[in-house]
């Protein structure tokens, strides 16, 4: 099955072509939905097959490269279109295709009756195609191809309902914002790629990483490469300072938010940094930058999440916050812990979004949690699965979030220090709080919606079955990464699996050890207690005494407003970057440079030619005899010339 890995890319591409070309003609939701999900299902079988085949191989043979064709061959630059099948890309493929398949199935139910049903599945298939190129690439250029491809799909899907309003503008504007912000990050990524090529003379992962060890490269070059690549990652994974696009990306349909803006695409930055672990390990300063950006993003996004009232906005900031955790793990040198959190987060965050979609579906596009309440008796499956996900993300054992999050906290304590751990813990506490604020306001308490207009109901099976599958995964997904203190001699399966990938990087860092199991256990207990108390406090505030929340928000009005308006980050960017560019473009580039200089130059040139030709055109009289006279004179002169030159 390893040799067939290209099918996981080819099948979604075929699905994309079929739905894109035939979709508008057939208009049959069943056919489109079955083709759209079916290709992903088949790809999933291939990935699972490749996974088990790799698992059966001895550890040192688990890196396989499948070359499809030579892509670019110019001078010394040789880029082949090949896929790298190893432990890391298989984990990512399983997440992308597995969660992707469930969300495809869910979308059949969610998008039922939409006038552009076919278009939705076309984009979704194209997204899986690009994402698989990204995770399977064996060199930076193919990765970049996928990187741009997912950005394009993200843009297309955010603006999917292009005729709808979103907040103060339109969904197309939100899509454009995502695209432009991502371009800024991509610019950094490109610079990093150029620097890699000029330093190592190749873009193939295995060569770059082996040369990074063997070549004598000064450390500041590594720092530059790592920082440039990380700028790309901040764009794609919505970290400070490029996080502003992700909350607006919620303008897209909810399955899109679940698939692209929670489970898969936004983790591409994490994957890329983990893939380049050796480059980061060679640049400790860049690692520190990653860790600091990660922890700050986690913290600030969580504080914003505390006060948002739109169900998808809360989840969006939660996603940003969890992505910050992943970068914290990478910055701490715990690469496999970061990837582990990518996996568990994909499960429970996809589940939360799909659950939110189910709620929004039954509440007729109402997204404000202040108008929900008491939904648990109307939609038991959504309620149950949402609760599982909320518990998982809060980090309550033995659900998956506990294992991945506590691992990150533990490594940030051992490798980065107490301050990082403390901020991480506070963030975890806030995560538990806002998640259960969301939960209590949606499913428990008084029913605050209009009973005459709205009749909440459970979603169809097409939507609930993926919810149940994801709930099971969120619940038990953590068991493959049980820390050593619990699992004993078996060790952490997930780490053992990924260890060969990160071996060189971790050897270079060498900062593990010196801490006892007792400390690890103690920290775990502290974080669990913190999460539990946050949940209980949320229950107290939003269920028992709703007036406490009001009182707190009115007492800290200024702080509340800052959080509600996301630290005025959008406004700050508008004032410092967007408006100067818009104004400068209008006043200088348009009115002066374009209108006066460029247009003026061309107009004056045209007028000059007009004047000159006004004189010259009089030669053409229209009388044939005058032409003949000129000709004869010319011939006579030419003859004289020839004769004289002979004489």
């Amino acid at each position: 099955m390893i040799d067939l890995i290209y099918l996981t890319v080819l099948l979604p591409l075929l699905g994309f072509l079929f739905n894109g070309l035939a979709g508008p003609k057939i208009k049959n939701e069943k056919v489109i939905g079955i083709v759209g999900s079916g290709v992903i299902g088949l790809s999933f079988i291939v990935v699972v097959g490749a996974f088990f085949e790799t698992l059966a191989l001895p550890v040192e043979q688990r890196l396989n490269i499948v070359t499809l064709f030579q892509w670019i061959s110019v001078g010394g630059l040789n880029i082949s279109f090949s896929y790298q099948v190893d432990q890391l890309s298989l984990v990512m493929s399983l997440i992308v295709i597995g969660v992707g398949f469930l969300i495809h199935v869910y979308s059949i139910g969610y998008m039922h009756g939409d006038k552009s049903f076919w278009r939705f599945f076309t984009y979704l298939n194209l997204f899986i195609f690009a994402m698989m190129n990204l995770v399977l690439a064996d060199n930076f250029l193919v990765l970049f191809l996928g990187w741009e491809g997912v950005g394009l799909c993200s843009y297309l899907l955010i603006g999917f309902w292009y005729d709808r309003k979103f907040e103060k503008s339109t969904t197309s504007a939100a899509g454009l914002k995502a695209f432009v912000v991502n371009r800024i990050g991509d610019f950094g990524f490109l610079l990093g790629m150029f620097l890699i090529y000029s330093t190592f003379g190749t873009l193939v992962f295995t060569d770059v990483f082996s040369r990074a060890v063997s070549f004598a490269v000064p450390e500041h070059i590594f720092v530059f490469i790592a920082i440039f690549l990380f700028i790309g990652a901040t764009g794609k994974s919505a970290q400070i300072p490029l996080l502003v696009w992700l909350p607006d990306a919620m303008a897209g349909p909810t399955p899109v938010s679940a698939l692209i803006h929670a489970a898969t695409m936004v983790t591409a930055g994490v994957y890329m940094v983990a893939r380049c672990s050796i480059l980061y390990a060679s640049a400790p300063a860049a690692m520190m930058v990653v860790a600091v950006i990660g922890i700050f993003t986690a913290f600030f996004a969580a504080t914003i999440g505390l006060v948002q009232n739109d169900i998808k906005k809360v989840l969006a900031y939660s996603t940003v916050s969890q992505l910050g955790y992943m970068f914290l793990a990478l910055g701490a040198g715990a690469f496999s812990a970061g990837i582990f959190h990518v996996m568990t987060h994909a499960f429970f965050k996809a589940l939360l979004f799909l659950g939110a979609g189910s709620v929004i579906h039954s509440m007729h596009e109402q997204q404000d949690i202040r108008h929900y309440g008491g939904l648990k008796k109307y939609m038991p499956i959504t309620y149950g699965t949402f609760l599982v996900a909320a518990v998982a993300i809060s980090g309550i054992p033995p659900l998956s979030g506990f294992f991945s999050k506590d691992e990150i906290l533990w490594y940030s304590f051992t490798n980065l220090g107490f301050v990082f751990w403390l901020i991480g813990l506070i963030t975890a506490l806030m995560t538990a709080f806002y998640m259960f604020r969301l939960y209590f306001m949606t499913f428990e308490g008084k029913e605050k919606f209009d009973h005459h207009k709205l009749h909440p109901h459970e979603s169809p099976k097409m939507m609930t079955v993926p919810l149940i599958v994801l709930a099971v995964l969120s619940a038990i997904g953590g068991f493959i990464g049980i820390p050593e203190i619990f699992s004993g001699e078996h060790g952490n399966l997930f780490h053992t699996w990924l260890a060969p990938i990160f071996k060189t990087a971790e050897m270079k860092l060498m900062q593990f050890g010196g801490h006892s199991h007792f400390e690890e256990l103690l920290l775990m207990i502290i974080s669990v207690v913190a999460a539990l108390s946050a949940i209980l406090y949320a229950r107290f505030v939003y269920l028992k005494k709703p007036e406490v929340a009001e009182k707190t928000s009115s007492r800290f009005k200024a702080a509340y407003n800052i959080l509600l308006n996301k630290y005025f980050l959008d406004e700050a960017y508008d004032a410092t970057i967007v408006n100067p560019i818009v104004k400068g473009s209008e006043k200088i580039l348009w009115k002066i440079a374009d209108n006066k200089i460029i247009d003026g130059l061309i107009n004056y040139l045209a007028r000059l030619i007009d004047i000159i030709s006004g004189f010259i055109k009089r030669i053409q009289t229209g009388v044939a005899q005058s032409y003949a006279l000129v000709m004869v004179i010319g011939i006579v002169i030419a003859l004289f010339w020839i004769i004289l030159s002979y004489a």
Binding site: G622, A624, Q625, A628, L629, V632
Partner: protein
């Protein structure tokens, strides 16, 4: 007694000059046309002269081609002149000057 070659060439040059002057000065398109024929025939004469002088039959061969082309040209040219006359009721070529700026 053989006539020297210069006689032929001088006659030919004279005919050609008459043709050129006619083309450049006459107004009537028919006469211009005839002058062109005159130039063609002066060229034919030169060809035959050299053909006989050099004992090469190629020159005479060429004359047949020129005559064939001249015949075809005469047919087309006269047709054009008739068409112009029908439209403008004149064949004065200084009055036919619409092909200009």
């Amino acid at each position: 007694m053989q006539i020297p070659i210069e006689y032929y060439l001088i006659l030919s040059a004279f005919m050609f000059s008459v043709g050129i002057v006619g083309v450049l000065t006459r107004r009537n398109a028919i006469i211009v046309f005839m002058c062109i024929e005159l130039m063609l025939n002066s060229a034919n004469l030169t060809l035959i002269t050299f053909s006989s002088y050099l004992g090469d039959v190629g020159g005479q061969l060429f004359v047949f081609f020129v005559m064939a082309v001249a015949a075809a040209e005469a047919a087309v040219g006269l047709a054009i002149i008739i068409a112009i006359y029908r439209n403008k009721l004149t064949v004065n070529i200084d009055q036919i000057n619409i092909l200009k700026w």
